[in-house]
């Protein structure tokens, strides 16, 4: 029998008027692991995270964090979690140190404990030099680090990161990833939402893809890539109206992918044809011949290992960043 998951959600439903933000989502995060919640804007990621962080009450379903029910034991859940949001909820009119002390005091630490905790976090996050400056003078990256620091004040067993690196420059993003990796090494469970496939690929042991309030795929990054078959052919067509003709031309190619496997897809917005290819280079050749015979004009074409981006496009029909 496996240990109780650090986070477990069953059949979560949340409506906003006629919009079903969540339509019965299950979720399970094993202790000490990182789960990446991936989905386009409006997929329901933030709604799900807000329910797990006790900020929102679900219309149906249950969620437990560290063994506590988010509805009936909200306070125990709050004592177990740390939340860092995409809008860097730190107080601009307090210094970095004052922010962390404020949060520490509200966790129930004494003034002395809170000061010590703030000191060690400022050190750990590389904010010691800026500790006594007002946050309104901080850069975006510093704010985000302080926000992460605030979420760590209570020594959470479950850390919830809602798009922690959205809008950050690449260097700051990598710094934040390294901090999160360090926390995971120390045994923290992390639930991470992101639009960045690269981020999920790097940090998350398991990934849940959600779209339109539903889980559409789940697995390790490798398992998800496997689902697409070995390789992907990515072709951009010159004319947007040739997409359907191209799909028809490819339908007769038996070697393209195993029966019942993923089929070629057409994405009109980028004029892109994505063709799962079991046969590697041979399939590329066949594809080129078939498209040429059908009179399709190709702008460029490539064969590559599937990325999470491909998983995303194949399963949702749009890119991770598309609204």
């Amino acid at each position: 029998m496996a240990a109780t998951p650090a986070v477990e959600a069953l059949g979560l439903v949340k409506h906003y008027g006629a919009v079903r933000a969540l339509d019965g989502v299950d979720l399970s995060v094993e202790e000490g692991t990182v789960l990446g919640l991936l989905g386009p804007n409006g997929a329901g990621k933030t709604t799900l995270v807000r329910i797990i962080a006790t900020l929102l009450v679900p219309d149906a379903g249950t969620a437990r964090v560290a063994g506590h029910d988010v509805r009936s034991e909200a306070r125990a859940v709050r004592a177990a979690i740390g939340l860092a949001g995409q809008f860097a909820a730190v107080d601009a009119l307090l210094s970095g140190r004052e922010n962390l002390v404020l949060v520490g005091r509200l966790y129930g630490l004494s003034a002395r404990q809170a000061a010590l905790r703030a000191e060690s976090l400022l050190e750990r996050l590389g904010l010691a030099d800026a500790a006594d400056r007002l946050v309104r003078g901080y850069s975006g990256g510093m704010r985000r680090r302080l926000d992460l620091g605030a979420s760590l004040v209570g020594r959470p067993s479950v850390l919830i990161l809602d798009e922690p690196t959205t809008g950050l420059d690449p260097r700051t993003r990598i710094e934040l990833w390294e901090i999160v990796e360090g926390l995971v090494r120390d045994g923290t469970t992390v639930l991470l939402t992101t639009q960045y496939l690269e981020e999920a690929d790097r940090l998350a042991g398991r990934i849940v893809l959600i779209d339109n309030g539903l889980t559409i795929a789940e697995g390790t990054p490798d398992e998800l890539k496997e689902r697409l078959g070995a390789d992907v052919i990515d072709a951009r067509l010159r004319h947007v109206d040739q997409g359907e003709i191209a799909l028809a031309a490819l339908a007769s190619l038996a070697t393209l992918s195993p029966p019942g496997g993923p089929a070629p897809t057409w994405h009109a917005e980028g004029r892109r044809l994505r063709i799962p290819s079991a046969g590697g280079a041979a399939t590329l050749l066949e594809t080129l011949r078939a498209l040429d015979a059908a009179g399709i004009e190709i702008e460029d074409i490539s064969l590559h290992r599937p990325s999470l981006e491909d998983v995303f496009l194949t399963l949702t029909g749009r890119g991770a960043g598309d609204a």
Binding site: A53, T54, I81, G85, A88, A89, V103, L106, G108, A150
Partner: protein, 250 residues
């Protein structure tokens, strides 16, 4: 106990905000000073206040009006915290649910203590004098503060419904203006049309201004102070639980 400690922590945070946004403090103090000067020197000559010098009639009105205006800071501050994600941060912490609102309204009350001191100072410079007992004056300040505090909770409700800084501010002023101007704060009620007097005589601003006026001028206050306190407690009893409920349901 937890609620008291958490409220003190949040109050302290909000006071820091006040100190660190001097522009807010400056505008919040210029406004009543400007009103005092305008009414004493511009409108005062045209307003008849039998039995009282106009400046002594006016200052209790300015004082009450200012504590009410002070409460709109709750609407603005709360809406700001909502938009900047601070409320999400607070709500994700294992703290007392009432502390964010209590700490906000309490910070306004503390600010009002300073603003009352300032107005009395400016008032004295333009001729305002106390004619009652020290106890009466203190009771007058207490009544005005309690009144402002009760309205802070009304403005908290406004912010939690509107959830947007400019909207919350405008909505608060829409509540404040009719209450302040259709009252006995600046002109005697007797000068208004009969149908309006029904409202102006009994509405809480007039009752509170009347109490402060009688208690600072040593005239007979009658049941006014008790009525004002009853208004304040009644407003609190409605607005505070409503605000806490709205906060929980965010």
């Amino acid at each position: 106990m937890r609620a008291v400690t958490d409220t003190a922590i949040v109050t302290h945070r909000n006071i820091r905000h006040l100190v660190r946004t001097p522009q807010l403090l400056v505008f919040a103090t210029i406004q009543p000073v400007m009103f005092t000067l305008l009414f004493v020197y511009v409108f005062g000559g045209a307003i008849r206040t039998p039995g009282l010098e106009y400046v002594n009639y006016l200052l209790p009105g300015i004082l009450t009006q200012t504590t009410l205006f002070g409460g709109t800071a709750t609407a603005v501050g709360l809406a700001q915290d909502l938009n900047e994600g601070m409320i999400d941060r607070f709500r994700s912490l294992p703290m007392a649910r009432s502390a964010v609102l209590a700490g906000r309204t309490l910070a306004d009350a503390i600010r009002n203590v300073f603003v009352i001191g300032l107005i009395v100072g400016v008032g004295t410079a333009v001729g305002f004098r106390f004619h009652g007992s020290v106890g009466g004056a203190l009771a007058a300040f207490g009544i005005a503060l309690l009144f402002g505090y009760a309205f802070s909770w009304v403005f908290a409700v406004v912010a939690l419904i509107v959830r947007q800084v400019e909207g919350a501010q405008v909505a608060s002023l829409l509540i404040v203006f009719p209450l302040v101007f259709a009252s006995s704060a600046f002109v005697p009620v007797a000068s208004m049309p009969g149908w309006l007097q029904v409202f102006t005589r009994h509405q809480p601003v007039s009752v509170t201004v009347g109490s402060v006026r009688a208690l600072t001028q040593g005239t007979s206050a009658g049941t006014l102070p008790l009525t004002s306190v009853a208004w304040s407690l009644g407003i609190l009893a409605l607005a505070a639980p409503l605000a806490v409920t709205l906060y929980r349901r965010l």
